[in-house]
């Protein structure tokens, strides 16, 4: 929305911007990669929150020694739940911009600043990373088609024209994040966030980002069966709500 008081202020300096942004990293059993992700992010931003979603491994300790603020779900509640917890924590910390960033190493810390730029200029409330506007390295063909289906699914359900609906890299202005209340604990939150944007008529923009697929991130990612389950859960929830 173009005329919140925030937007009338002079643009913040890069340092100020970095202090005002909190990066939220939901992590479940990611001890192998979370330290690198955190230190890459800390290189650009001083405030990184890792939400350890009840991991059985040393995710929390590893992230903490890498320099992140760590909060812990005592039991696993799913990525959507972890994101909401992290966002609420970031708001309590006074964040003016909140970025969500996957813990599996597929996102690039350098992309975050490009996601924040439109928010700082007050051009929109939410920015969404898109691998199809940017570059997806080592993206397998099957995964590409699955993501295409996600895009069509969203177009059909919400009527929003997006190029990448299931990208974990997103940025919210404070006022948008305050309205967000992710209720789908599992992976269907990606569609839920898009619903949220369309329902609240938030202005958004897709920003090209790079996704690096590694054997690790692909193994941690969704299976085709998992995605079907997510779609069913999402549609069922729409009926119940």
């Amino acid at each position: 929305m173009p005329s919140t008081p925030e937007n009338l202020q002079p643009p913040p300096s890069p340092d100020e911007l970095k202090r005002n942004a909190v990066i939220v990293v939901p992590a479940y059993n990611e001890e192998a990669v979370v330290a690198r992700v955190v230190s890459d992010l800390l290189h650009h931003f001083p405030r990184v929150v890792v939400v350890d979603d009840g991991s059985a491994d040393k995710t929390a300790a590893t992230a903490r020694s890498a320099g992140a603020m760590v909060i812990r779900h005592p039991i696993n509640r799913g990525q959507g739940a972890a994101l909401q917890t992290g966002i609420e924590f970031a708001l309590a910390q006074g964040a003016r911009y909140i970025v969500t960033f996957d813990a599996d190493g597929q996102h690039q810390a350098g992309d975050v600043i490009r996601l924040l730029e439109p928010l700082i200029r007050g051009e929109c409330d939410v920015t969404l990373g898109s691998r199809f506007l940017g570059e997806a390295r080592n993206l397998p063909a099957s995964r590409k088609w699955l993501l295409r289906m996600g895009v069509w699914f969203t177009r059909w359900v919400n009527g929003l024209r997006l190029t990448d609906t299931h990208n974990g890299l997103r940025a919210f202005s404070r006022s948008a994040a305050e309205k967000l209340d992710i209720q789908l604990d599992g992976m269907a939150h990606a569609s839920e966030i898009i619903d949220f944007i369309s329902r609240n008529r938030l202005s958004f923009r897709e920003v090209p980002v790079e996704i690096h697929y590694t054997e690790y991130s692909l193994a941690k990612g969704q299976t085709t069966r998992g995605i079907l389950r997510v779609a069913i859960q999402y549609l069922l929830d729409k009926v119940v709500r």
Binding site: G54, P74, R77, T85, F89, Q183, V240
Partner: protein
Amino acid sequence: MNWFQLLVLVVLVLALLVTLAATVRGWATRREAIVWAVICLAVAAATLEPERLIAPIARALGIGRGADLVFYTVAVVMLIGFWMTYIRLRFLRRQITLLVRQLALMEGKRELGDR
């Protein structure tokens, strides 16, 4: 009495005994126990006297056979039961998540303080 009726009666007696034991131990309230007992007695009556108790209702509803009436009723009741259980489960999951979130936030604020 045929073998089927005997089998159903044995199962119902066992169910009543379990209900009684649960009530004595305080796992079920008296009201729950009474509701269960009434259901068990109704099933027993319907099993022993299907021609007098079930068949007339089935004919009045235009279903024909008593067994069909029982089958349709069970299908509908189970469907409603599954749906209610799903809603209940969903609600419980939501409450657990909210509880876990509060714990995480409290702990986090205690450890890190409000910056």
